[in-house]
Symmetry: C2
Subunit: 313 residues, 2 copies
């Protein structure tokens, strides 16, 4: 495929359904790190996360007949809201399978966007079986939060916009959970900014991508433990080859480093970022000497946090 | 005086020392209120609050001989940091009198900006006496956080920028504590946007400005009780006449309404605003029917909150 042309098409297609988000920087943080960080603020994206980009592209890529039958996904996080909103904007029926353990505020948000919510037991098996049942009953198309090429290409538009806004940085950092944002950003590099080095930041408590990249094959995460709730999922077989080809390294960070980076952004930049978004910054801080004096892009993946359960004390 | 020309001079003078802050809006909040709100984000200002504008103008307005002797102020809040930073930028000695009860993080911030901190007992009398002593010993010039025309005119530049950025709104709301921001915004209206209606938002637990405007003379606040820590001070005799002439009304809000408005901005806009900044939005929400369909500017005064003591539960 011609990455540049395809991504240009994707960006054009989803433009009416997403925000072009701002790029912010902080002289205090730059001074502290001895380099120049540009934060691509997807926390200001519609529904509060980059997931809107991938969901919009996935929904818009459906055939007319697929659109008429609707979509289904299982998620308790940002992708659920993204699919609900992207579907609503395109008058497509959306069914979201959510574990019964998901916070009611998340269910309400999805329902608020007009989607149908089906609850299931809080296991991956139950989620998959419930989604299967919906597909059998309605003919709906399954959308995957990260391991689907349309989603990955939609995600790529965040990096594309960043390169357009600040020019080509020396390096770009994203969080890595399922791998959809990191793979998308890698495609953006391939298509538009060949000289950029691409890095992932990953919590030590959910280090499957780091391990997989080292091993050369996918090692699924077992029993992930991290405050970065968006990064507890495993790398997928669609995005892993892209990451293997184009990503230079995946840095691990500890929980306290994630909270410190999150606090730094809240206090210095006065913007709300979710724990997952603090992971690439924490990785950059930890490895700052490697990037001394350079220009580094950081994709701030989202800003959806529960204000009743913050990690500051 | 010719307000327009004088304020244009002030804006030019302080421009190198401040940020031109962005104006943000939220379609969710607009839909909720049935009007169009434009938030002037002084939480993104240098040191995190609009106070930088007034402090910069006050420092820059000193004579050469005054500059050589330095400045002094007593404050435990944003003005202390603003004077410290504005002085540092202009290589002027600054002494900040702070009550011994002020959080150590605030003292450290002021010291970090290179100012000298003198602690005193946590009473207004002790603060004033200590500042007097500094003036006697050093010849320093006293700067007042809100009741000084140079400070008020510096503050006016926030409103001026907003009018420049979005055109003339139907109304503009600011918080009111000492009255420096409200009076400044009223001057901005006088000089640049005659048709704008100017309103203040004030906590019921510190309602001296509301009472004073009704009575026609200053009624000082006694025993103020509000989460909006920046608004516990009384209106001054320099800004009161300006407010009396140009401000249409001061709306009162309850503590729960302040917290609700603050939460709304944090959750919907993903930006950090301090409780004082939520007061004008709370006032607008409470009186939204009066402004149905209109365009309203809200000056977000600052974003300095202690993440360890948030009002959400």
């Amino acid at each position: 495929m011609n990455t540049k042309n395809e991504l240009t098409e994707v960006a054009k297609k989803i433009a009416p359904f997403i925000h072009k988000t701002p790029v912010l920087s902080s002289s205090a943080i730059n001074k502290m790190l001895g380099l120049s960080v540009h934060f691509k603020c997807e926390n200001f994206q519609k529904m509060g996360a980059f997931k809107m980009r991938g969901a919009a592209n996935a929904v818009l890529s459906l055939s007319k007949s697929e659109k008429s039958k609707g979509v289904v996904t299982h998620s308790s996080g940002n992708f659920a809201q993204a699919v609900a909103l992207a579907s609503k904007m395109n008058r497509i029926k959306a069914t979201i399978v959510m574990p019964s353990s998901a916070p009611s505020i998340k269910k309400e948000a999805v329902i608020g966007y007009g989607a149908r919510v089906i609850e299931c037991a809080p296991t991956l098996q139950a989620r998959e079986e419930t989604a299967e049942r919906v597909i059998l009953e309605t003919g709906a198309t399954m959308l995957h939060p990260s391991n689907q090429i349309e989603v990955i290409m939609g995600n790529a538009t965040a990096g594309m916009e960043l390169f357009d806004q600040i020019g080509e940085p020396d390096a770009i950092f994203t969080p890595v959970g399922g791998g959809g944002l990191l793979a998308g950003t890698a495609l953006a590099k391939k298509g538009f900014a060949g000289g950029v080095r691409v890095f992932g930041g990953e919590p030590s408590g959910a280090d499957d991508a780091h391990q997989s990249l080292k091993a050369g094959f996918i090692i699924p995460v077992e029993n992930p433990k991290t405050i970065a709730d968006g990064l507890r999922t495993s790398l997928g077989d669609v995005n892993f080859p892209i990451i293997k080809e184009l990503v230079e390294d995946i840095f691990l960070v500890e929980e306290s480093e994630i909270v410190d980076a999150m606090r730094l952004v809240w206090e210095r930049m006065k913007i709300i970022i979710e724990p997952s978004s603090a992971v690439p910054l924490a990785a950059l801080i930890k490895n700052k000497s490697q990037f001394a004096g350079q220009t580094v892009g950081v994709i701030v993946s989202g800003g959806n946090v529960s204000l009743n359960a913050l990690p500051f004390s």
